[in-house]
């Protein structure tokens, strides 16, 4: 499973019949980076495609699962598909730092500094 940021959607009208109606997103997985001796997050250069039954939007951080786990959330194991968004991430902790999240401009900021939303620790 990966955490990643949604960078766009894609459409394919000519596709295998079990994929009809599937909403497809393009996602960049997050990777680790050291910044001044601390762990921080960065978007990898890889792009993966995932079905999205949850309703994530561009710019949101999502949790992505593969294989049977992905098809479980899509409602059938008999699909020609392997990857799905299984959750929309509110916040992530890194080490003992306060929870962080991406703001709409893609900057990693303190979650509690974002407008709206509950405190991260209450949403697990």
């Amino acid at each position: 499973m990966y955490v990643g940021r949604v960078i766009g959607a894609l459409w394919a009208s000519r596709k295998e019949t079990t994929l009809t109606g599937m909403r497809m997103l393009m996602i960049r997985p997050l990777r680790a980076r050291r910044d001044g001796g601390r762990d921080t997050l960065d978007e990898s250069d890889q792009v993966i495609v995932a079905a999205d039954p949850i309703g994530a939007g561009v710019g949101e951080t999502v949790l992505v699962a593969m294989g049977r786990a992905a098809r479980s959330v899509l409602g059938s194991q008999d699909l020609g598909w392997q990857v799905a968004v299984v959750a929309i991430v509110d916040a992530m902790s890194l080490g003992d730092l306060p929870p962080v999240a991406f703001d709409p401009d893609g900057r990693l900021v303190d979650y509690d500094a974002l407008p709206g939303g509950p405190t991260a620790g209450t949403t697990r």
Binding site: M1, Y2, R31, A69, S72
Partner: protein, 96 residues
């Protein structure tokens, strides 16, 4: 399977129902230190905790059916990876 270090945790309120109550850890996969780049090439891995691992612990992660077996909630769940062990000690090259 892979080993890595727990660097954090994920919180999600909008999620598939089968994720409820699971603790989701962010694991930075091990690479051989003298080949490590910054930022790392490999993406971070998210795995459900089954052994009460903490931030900074070095852990073992299992995938697929093996990971779900460790979670003990059946196989029709939205989880594909689980932390199944905390490493006490290891030999071999330095890992980063």
């Amino acid at each position: 399977m892979l080993t890595g270090r727990v660097v954090g945790e994920v919180w999600a309120s909008r999620r598939h129902e089968t994720l409820g109550g699971l603790r989701l850890l962010i694991v930075d996969p091990h690479v051989v230190k003298d080949r490590a780049t910054d930022p790392k090439t490999a993406a971070l891995v998210v795995a459900a905790d089954t052994v009460d691992a903490g931030i900074g612990d070095e852990v073992i992660v299992a995938y697929g059916r093996a990971g779900r077996s460790a979670i003990r909630r059946g196989h029709d769940i939205a989880v594909e990876a689980a932390v199944v062990g905390v490493i006490d000690d290891r030999s071999g090259p330095e890992l980063g």
